[in-house]
């Protein structure tokens, strides 16, 4: 029951962050571990800044 609640919270948090274009950090870390074990993944803070810069600096796609 508590596991389910925690999973749901995680899912909702992930969905909320996706609304503003921030991908899931855990997925990123897992991806780095499996495909690039030789490289150190960014910390969450670095990851956040990198994504923020990438989303807005190129002129974000925003609609009317």
């Amino acid at each position: 029951m508590f596991n389910d609640l925690a999973r749901m919270g995680q899912y909702l948090g992930q969905a909320a962050r996706a609304l503003v274009g921030l991908p899931d950090y855990d997925t990123y870390v897992q991806h780095m571990r499996t495909t690039h074990p030789d490289r150190t993944p960014m910390t969450y803070e670095e990851f956040f800044r990198e994504r923020q810069e990438a989303r807005y600096s190129g002129g974000a796609g925003k609609c009317c």
Binding site: Y11, G13, Q14, A15, A16, R17, A18, L19, V20, G21, L22, P23, D24, T27, Y28, V29, Q30, H31, M32, T35, Y44, E45, F47, F48, R49, E50, R51, Q52, E53, A54, R55, Y56, S57, G58, G59, A60, G61, K62, C63, C64
Partner: protein, 688 residues
């Protein structure tokens, strides 16, 4: 037996939808409940999604669940990430939803709710959602490349450049019209101006918090930002009432214009983390939350529609915008039915996040259905407002006369009986000095939302809160769009100028940055200023230009989709994209032509210019101009607007001709000639 039950279910839904549509369409002379519109719309969406979207996905383009998507092929955990389809749906919807679907239907309500509703439903099923889905499909098959790139590779480099240039011009008009909506909503409204101004320090505080105090904790700071925002709305009432602070936040249109231009310039050269990003978080969450809240509110309150199904203004003499039902209704309701701008989003981040091609219809087609539903809610909200109040808010002062008495008199003569007391009472309810001549859609929508939401929460005492909440909600994401759009425009411009002066291409150069930003702000600022000083309210001129541009971009995207279908050797299904293209071309070319050449000076730019030039020749000054210089300015503006309409027509016809040429070429080939990225089946290692 197993097949019978679902079929019965769909048949029942079809009957329910048809009955609701019948109630909506056939009720005359009595008010109907908004729920009939909502039920009709939802039935149409479900049936359209279940049957037409599936047909498009499986038969027309042939999605292949075994084909690896770019999200897997280029998976980097950052730009390319396979994403759960429900989460991606939210991401995509948040990116396409903006002020467009909220404002267009409100303006269209001057003809009654029926024409607008029918176009929103028919348009989304056969044009808007088709476009979003097709572009998403095309981009997903091509590594998630952008619309300009796709046109370049499928139609040729020249139409690619033409389309890019067209996109930049459309961007300028969109920014001007969005900014104009904010100006119209905040003019002489200290409460509104204070709350919108308060978003700037709130966003900066959030930005600093996210950068230095607790980096990257978006959700907790957004909650805090939301609380501060609500406090700003409540406190705004006291500010407006205060004899010292109230006047400090009371601005006229011109002052607000200069502030917005200054704001647009500063905000788009600041680092993104300080202002743009945090306000985007706030506005996105508020937008999604408010849309959900409004949906629940409409279902819970079940308001009666006050606006008639059809008004006498279907003949094109309406006060909010001029022009006949065809083509101008189809121009006025832009984003809720079909929006060319979505083609940029569908070829932006979304295709890089698609997990499987079988999700394309849900995200692309389904996302647009939700956008359309937002438009239906805006139409409902506007139609719940007393028609007398609606016309008082949306007609220009030049028509209504200076006082509540003259306004009430004029509107009552149109057949919408209203007394000056009702107008004064409405203004008092929402905490404003006056509701007269507040065109632009946002204030009307806010009155409608306040009308619905106060019945759900708070009662009459909360009406002013809900009104300013709705204004803030719109202003917040419009300001984000102005800021992000100026940035995007600046990059486009630097790219464009860079072909002549190479040093301009260096986006990190401060000088190049400042010059390109200034040019971009000047471009939309020019149209904004022109709209603000326009005696007919500006929306009259700018909104049709925006609609024409946006729908033309949709025609360009659908032309691309048609070419791709021909190149895939699936031309027997190309009617799915050709029909909406033809319809959009008919609407936009007629509207564009009329905007330039119509003999009616209310519609045509050239005849309007001629009217003023003739007056200048006679040495006569026509209202609203007060000096000869202003007269000349009006003539000049008319020529600029006419030229712009001409440019849009040129862009769309050029792309169309190139599209036809590509289709003919593809027909002569024996085999498919599409340029998709290499086929990799699901399960193989990426890049292998």
């Amino acid at each position: 037996m197993q097949n019978v039950l679902p079929r019965l279910g769909w048949a029942a839904l079809a009957v329910l939808g048809a009955c609701s549509l019948a109630v909506v369409a056939l009720s005359r002379g009595e008010t109907i409940n908004a729920l009939w519109i909502v039920i009709a719309a939802v039935s149409v969406y479900l049936i359209g999604y279940r049957f037409y979207a599936r047909f498009l996905a499986h038969t027309v383009v042939g999605v292949d669940p075994n084909r690896m998507t770019p999200a897997y092929r280029y998976n980097d955990g950052l730009d390319y990430v396979p994403t759960n389809k429900n989460i991606l749906y939210g991401h995509h919807f948040a990116a396409i939803a903006g002020a467009g679907p909220l404002v267009g239907p409100v303006l269209a309500a001057q003809m009654g709710y029926l024409p607008g509703m029918l176009w929103i439903l028919a348009g989304v099923i056969f044009a808007g959602a088709v476009q979003d889905f097709m572009v998403l499909f095309i981009s997903t098959r091509r590594d998630g490349r952008s619309l300009g790139d796709l046109i370049k590779s499928e139609l040729g480099p020249i139409p690619g450049v033409i389309a890019l240039f067209g996109t930049f011009m459309i961007m300028v008009i969109i920014l001007a019209v969005l900014a104009l909506i904010v100006v119209k909503a905040l003019t002489d409204s200290p409460w509104g101006s204070f709350t919108v101004a308060a978003t700037i320090p709130i966003a900066i505080f959030m930005g600093i918090y996210l950068r230095f105090i607790r980096p990257g904790r978006i959700l907790e700071i957004s909650v805090l930002g939301f609380v501060l925002l609500m406090a700003a709305i409540i406190f705004g009432g006291d500010v407006a009432a205060s004899p010292t602070w109230g006047p400090m936040f009371t601005f006229d249109g011109k002052q607000l214009t200069w502030m917005l231009i200054g704001y647009g310039f500063i905000a788009s050269v600041l680092p993104v983390w300080l202002l743009l990003a945090p306000r985007d978080y706030l506005s996105t969450f508020l937008k999604i939350g408010t849309i959900l809240g409004l949906a629940i509110g409409i279902a819970f309150v079940a308001p009666q529609l006050q606006m008639p199904a059809l008004t006498q203004f279907v003949d094109g003499t309406g006060p909010a915008w001029s022009g006949n039902l065809f083509p101008f209704l189809f121009i006025t309701i832009a984003c809720g039915a079909v929006s060319g701008f979505h083609a940029l989003i569908s070829s932006g981040t979304t295709p890089k996040l698609i997990e499987s091609e079988k999700h394309l219809a849900f995200i692309g087609y389904g996302g647009m259905l939700m956008e359309s539903f937002v438009a239906i809610m805006a139409l409902v909200a506007a139609s719940c407002v007393d028609p007398g109040v609606y016309f008082a808010m949306n007609s220009p002062l030049a028509v209504l006369g200076p006082t509540a008495e003259t306004a009430a008199h004029t509107i009552s003569q149109w057949g919408f009986v209203i007394t000056p007391d009702v107008l004064a009472q409405t203004a008092a309810d929402i905490g404003e000095k006056s509701v007269i001549a507040r065109a632009g859609g946002a204030p009307t929508l806010a009155v409608g939302m306040a009308h619905i939401l106060h019945q759900a929460i708070g009662g009459k005492a909360m009406m002013a809160f809900w009104y300013h909440f709705a204004i803030l909600f719109e202003a917040l994401f419009i300001l984000t769009a102005v800021d992000a759009g100026t940035r995007a425009g600046r990059f486009m411009l630097q790219d464009l100028l860079g072909t002549f002066v190479p040093s301009f291409k260096r986006t990190e150069s401060l000088v190049a940055n400042l010059i390109a930003t200034a040019l971009c702000v000047a471009a939309w600022g020019y149209f904004l200023y022109q709209g603000v000083v326009d005696p007919l309210g500006g929306i009259n001129t700018l909104w049709p230009l925006f609609g024409v541009a946006n729908q033309m971009l949709a025609a360009v995207a659908l032309t691309l989709a048609t070419v791709v279908l021909f190149k895939m050797k699936r031309q027997r299904y190309a009617w799915t994209t050709i029909l909406p293209t033809v319809w959009l071309l008919a609407c936009t070319l007629t509207a564009g032509w009329q905007k330039i050449f119509s003999a009616n000076p209310k519609v045509g730019f050239l005849s309007h210019a001629a009217k003023f030039s003739d007056a200048i020749a006679r040495n006569e000054i026509l209202a609203p101009a007060k000096t000869m210089a202003q007269m000349q300015q009006i003539v000049f503006n008319d020529y600029v607007d006419a030229t712009l309409s001409g440019v849009f027509i040129f862009v769309v016809i050029a792309v169309l001709l190139f599209g036809i040429r590509s289709c003919m070429k593809a027909l002569q080939e024996q085999r498919p000639t599409v340029r998709e990225s290499e086929y990799v089946p699901v399960g193989e290692a990426a890049g292998a």
